[in-house]
């Protein structure tokens, strides 16, 4: 239990530290990769919480996701080197306040609510996988299928929006 807490704390601190780095660094790619390592640290934390499948999934998914983020980052910012000393924030005070209030609100709920007795043990990873699988295929099937179809639709729609049609490009050229 103590070991578990220690590991969770360790990975939690890593996750938080990397999350801070995301908004502190001036290099776009560093931002994206810091986010990746933050999320991967969360994945490690899940592993410490004996959620093996979820942890591994998190670690795997985030690698791809954040790398793609890095590519868009570089593309949209037109700058491989990070913008150096450029200011990229606005409404700083407000955001800080919101962040702090948000965190404290969450903390307040976390610590004030009675959560009952924590369970000491979790099912083994094999049992978990089996349970999750059965849940996905039985009770939550509709939800999950809906989510799957939604993401597919969103992907198609996003691609359709992003890909400039020939006519749109032409129109733009005409305008210019």
């Amino acid at each position: 239990m103590i070991l578990q807490t220690a590991f969770m704390g360790l990975f939690g601190i890593a996750a938080i530290w990397f999350a801070v780095v995301v908004f502190r660094t001036h290099s776009m790619v560093r931002s994206a990769l810091a986010l990746l390592f933050s999320q991967a640290a969360l994945g490690a934390m899940f592993l410490a919480m004996q959620a093996e499948f979820l942890g591994v999934l998190q670690i795997m998914m985030m690698a791809t996701e954040m790398a793609i983020m890095a590519i868009f980052m570089v593309m949209f910012m037109m700058d491989p080197g990070g913008l150096g000393q450029m200011e990229m924030t606005h409404q700083k005070r407000l955001s800080q306040a919101a962040g702090v209030i948000g965190a404290f609100a969450a903390l307040g709920i976390a610590f004030l609510a009675g959560w009952g007795n924590p369970a000491a043990t979790a099912p083994g990873p094999q049992a978990q996988l089996r349970g999750l699988g059965l849940d996905l295929m039985e009770r939550s099937m509709l939800i999950f299928e809906t989510a799957g179809v939604t993401i597919l639709t969103a992907m198609v729609a996003a691609t359709a929006v992003a890909v400039a049609t020939r006519s749109a490009t032409k129109r733009k050229e005409d305008r210019e």
Binding site: L35, L54, D135
Partner: protein, 101 residues
Amino acid sequence: MPLYVALLVGAIMFGIGLYGALSQTNLVMIMMGVEVMLGGALVNLVAFWRFLHPTVYPGQTFFLIIMTVMALDMAVGFGVGTARFRARGSVEAEEAGELKG
């Protein structure tokens, strides 16, 4: 005890994410903020599953759905971003005035 560690981490991640999402001007950075917030949510979710109801699997299912939402957020965000970048040459939120209702 470990539950509270997880909730603490979740809350702080959420706070950082909120700050990031609000303070950044660049679309991609805003999305990063959102991802950090969702990360915080994920921690809470896993912690609740593990320490409160370890034998109830919809908790894990919900995790998967949030992960889907993260991917979705990326897809849509970048789709919109690319379209805007093409049209305007910028993904700065400050310059997206015409998106106001």
